[in-house]
């Protein structure tokens, strides 16, 4: 009963927030509605018993990703209205419905076929975080390490692209200019 109430409440809230994100013409409204929607989605994870996933959702999405977006928006002119693409709304509608039906088919097909087996069943008497840790560090260790390397690459890429010396773009300069810049930059680095 309470599960159903919570589900419908958070479903309505999430759909509303994401509709605002998609439909609004102001970037600040979009980012705030987006952050709210992310937190509401974590409620579904808590309802479903995936406590660790819900905590990760709040920490990573609303903590890191949304903060990164807010940081990135400082570079852009967010006060002006966002210009929209003028496409045929019927084409958009038909394509959206087709893709959504395809997604349903993808997710429902294994259940309809009904021969699915739990490879790593949820053990009794073990908390969600502990179970996740046991599966993640045994069966999914290699993907976990690959994800770690991927995050490291992304971090280095982000630093190189948007890092220090924001007024000079390292990607637009020739090698000699970069070497020259390092020589001239060092003495007054403190006052920059």
């Amino acid at each position: 009963m309470f599960e159903a109430i919570a589900f419908y409440l958070f479903a309505a809230l999430t759909i509303t927030m994401f509709t605002i994100t998609v439909m609004t013409s102001q970037a600040l409204y979009a980012i705030t509605a987006m952050a709210a929607g992310m937190i509401f989605i974590s409620a579904f994870f808590f309802i479903l018993g995936a406590d660790f996933l819900g905590a990760i959702q709040i920490i990573v999405y609303t903590g890191a990703v949304m903060a990164l977006y807010a940081f990135g928006m400082m570079f852009f002119d967010t006060t002006r209205d966002v210009v929209e693409k003028r496409t045929n709304p019927q084409i958009v509608f038909v394509l959206g419905v087709l893709a959504a039906v395809m997604v349903v088919a993808i997710f429902v097909a294994p259940i309809v076929s009904n021969n699915i087996q739990a490879l790593y069943p949820i053990q009794e008497g073990v908390g969600n975080s502990q179970a996740v840790g046991m599966v993640l560090f045994t069966k999914y260790l290699v993907p976990f390490e690959l994800a770690a390397v991927m995050l490291l690459v992304a971090m280095i890429g982000g630093i190189v692209l948007a890092g220090k010396k924001m007024d000079k773009s390292l990607t637009l300069m020739k090698e000699e200019e970069i070497g020259l810049m390092d020589d001239t930059f060092e003495p007054k680095a403190g006052g920059h």
Partner: protein
């Protein structure tokens, strides 16, 4: 009033459709990134729901990896976007035709 797996899948599909509409109607690249995040979150809900109703932890594992991918996508994407904005002063998709594609 029992919430079944289909409820969650329908919700996930609705959110996915919202994200698709956003991807198709937005021209600002930052807004396009927001729509991409909505798509990823919709699939996360579906994974977590299937994981719960089948009693298998693999769905949650895939959701974790999707979150990791989303985080690295944001880092790289925003870096590229900032570089592009410094070059041209615009982040509209229609102006990105330097390769005459």
């Amino acid at each position: 009033m029992e919430v079944t797996l289909n409820h969650y899948l329908v919700l996930s599909t609705i959110l996915f459709a919202i994200g698709l509409v956003g991807v198709m109607r937005r021209k600002n690249l930052l807004m396009l990134f927001f729509a991409t995040e909505i798509l990823l979150n919709a699939t996360n809900i579906a994974f977590a729901a299937i994981s719960h109703y089948i009693g298998d932890l693999s769905g949650q594992m895939f959701a974790f990896f999707i979150i990791a991918i989303a985080a690295s996508e944001v880092a790289i994407g925003l870096g590229l976007l900032i570089v592009w904005f410094k070059r041209t002063g615009k982040i509209d998709l229609d102006q990105m035709n330097s390769m005459r594609g």
